[in-house]
Symmetry: C2
């Protein structure tokens, strides 16, 4: 099942393309210019191990048409609405996964939410009720995605108003060996998107001994969860 | 250093009182009625191991007066503003720690934020600039706090506009053997408070094999963090 990644030439979209292709999911990488997308697709493909699915470059509209069902929007926030408008007529029958965080202009440590409340809600308002919008993958660092030798160190919080669409997106994300959780309706994107600048601030801070931290859902220690299983395995 | 916990007769405030007293921090437990606070303080004290600091009951105003510096507000959201108004004149020279989440009326799976954006910001607006307000401890389940034989399975995200006050609150919270992070200005309480109903929804869901999950900040697996140290130790 081919997925499209619009804005796939950026670090977040490119990192997702690598991860999905390695997991066996063919990727149609979209950009405003097909030539640029083809260049980046070739560069990314060269990093993939044998047996990976292909990454192919297209302009954004052709990338949507190449997608069987799921289209991931991974552009900078400044291009969020314009990109959706440019492909809107092709999205009927598909699912839009919005991973965009409305970072404040010139300050990645703050959000500047649109009037709708979040990018996910703005996308749903722009596309109307016929195209389900799912918010996901906001809190995964691009640097992490691009280091294929490391596991993804976070869980993925997924939200949206269409349960069937969310379930499909959760199944897709789990192919990356990460835990993805249904975190409720689209309105919860106001919180989930806003987590990203909190993580960026913390990761930039000299008060902590790390960078590129993510978020994990963490049950009490006597109960199992994805992150705990991984940490326990790493400690053995 | 005695701290006050207003609304300390509820499950969240009572659980915090237990944890702080066991860690050696004397607690002035506040309630609207002194008699009720004394009753609960006695019941909680009976659960504490030898060597713990005392928990004493007071009416909310007397609890603030008994606090050396830090006053934790742990009332239900419906009592948030009225409780602050009732003690406002006593808060000068103290730090208010707001742990209140504005859950929607009748739906703990949703927030209903005040016009100021969050409970923390509403408290700061109500108290004015002379009393620093720090948002913290929103995402710790009351059930977890009250089970003294279990570690607290989450990190604490701390926000507020006064760095000195935040630093003191972070030091206090770390006495509970949890990691507490400076997560930026008070405006970030809009995200941090809103995480709680997302966790409540997830913990109620039949799709996950756990309840009472919290949030952890999770660095890449080659870098150390509190949660990873604990999980690694538990696995050995």
């Amino acid at each position: 099942m081919t997925i499209a990644i619009l804005g796939g030439t950026g670090p977040q979209g490119g990192g997702l393309a690598l991860r999905f292709a390695r997991a066996g999911v063919p990727v149609a990488l979209g950009s405003r210019e097909a030539g640029r997308a083809e260049e980046v697709a070739a560069r990314l493909s060269a990093q993939l191990p044998a047996g990976s699915a292909p990454i192919r470059g297209y302009d954004n509209r052709a990338a949507v048409e190449a997608a069987d069902e799921i289209v991931i929007l991974a552009v900078p926030y400044s291009a969020h609405d314009a990109t959706l408008v440019a492909v809107r007529d092709l999205l009927a029958g598909r699912i839009l996964v919005d991973i965009v965080v409305p970072l404040a202009d010139g300050d990645p440590k703050a959000v500047a939410m649109p009037a709708e409340g979040s990018a996910t809600e703005a996308a749903q308002a722009l596309l109307g009720g016929d195209v389900p919008v799912v918010g996901a993958l906001h809190n995964v660092a691009a640097a992490t995605l691009n280091k294929l030798d490391r596991p993804i160190n976070c869980d993925v919080l997924v939200c949206g108003d269409d349960l069937g669409a969310k379930t499909k997106v959760i199944e897709l994300i789990r192919r990356l060996d990460v835990e993805a959780y249904n975190c409720g309706p689209a309105v919860n994107a106001r919180c989930i998107e806003a987590l990203t600048p909190i993580l960026i601030r913390l990761n930039m801070s000299k008060a902590v001994p790390f960078t590129h931290a993510g978020i994990r859902i963490w049950p009490p220690s006597h109960l199992p969860a994805g992150g705990q299983r991984e940490a326990a395995a790493a400690a053995q």
